[in-house]
Subunit: 144 residues, 2 copies
């Protein structure tokens, strides 16, 4: 039984639908509940992303922008290229700066959800391999 | 006994400290937990605001920016000048555009909290009178 199964039903903002539009940039199943779409006068999009255990997005970069993650449920991982991974829990906040290659997702054994506030244009890169993912999980556990 | 007393302890992001820095722009007691400070490369600030029952901020305008409210707990009110007030519940999202005069806060009988994502410079105006506030509450209840 995975940890934090309740996250599957959505924490505050709802789980939303299967994240089919971005499925090719994810390993495993994620769900997206869109909250705000960027528009002329509002330079960010906001969405609640829910990850099944082991699900993570590919390495990616936000160009001419940034991303803020507000962790709402479960247990997850965040890693910037060349740095140790961080274990994420509810109430944690992550700011990814312009041009920084990174990924985020659930731990192998827990559901995970975060609100993402995103500006700029994403560039999607290679998947996080099982090897990288397991190493990140070890690092996250060691440092917490 | 007020409704949604649990919101007093913070929903996910913590209640934070008494919002002394902005107290002069509020009627009643609010609390602020800062999550992200705006900086050169990140044009928004993010904070969790908790309002005691009856607490609301003054009428205000975001210039050269916007504000997004993500409701996290309790029951609140949002009103733009010249429009009917809206009753807010967890999962509700509000986008205030550049230049729009508005206010937000708790209902008279409930704690309330929202995450605020704010860009630009606020201009603080007059308080929401008790009369305006009670009328807004009636409108919110009628329309829900």
């Amino acid at each position: 039984m995975a940890k934090n199964e309740n996250v599957k039903n959505g924490i505050i903002f709802g789980r939303g639908q299967k994240n089919d539009a971005f499925a090719k940039y994810f390993t495993g199943q994620s769900y997206l509940k869109g909250l705000v779409s960027p528009e002329k006068e509002v330079n960010v999009g906001v969405g609640n992303v829910t990850f099944e255990p082991g699900c993570r997005n590919n390495w990616h970069i936000h160009h001419n922008g940034y991303q803020i993650l507000l962790v709402t449920g479960g247990e997850g991982l965040y890693q910037e290229e060349g740095k140790r991974a961080q274990l994420l829990k509810p109430e944690d906040v992550v700011v990814t700066h312009d041009g920084v290659k990174h990924w985020h997702g659930a731990t192998p054994d827990s559901w995970f959800s975060h609100v993402a506030i995103t500006a700029g244009t994403p560039e999607w890169l290679e998947p996080v391999s099982d090897d990288q993912f397991q190493k990140a999980f070890q690092q996250g556990k060691e440092d917490k």
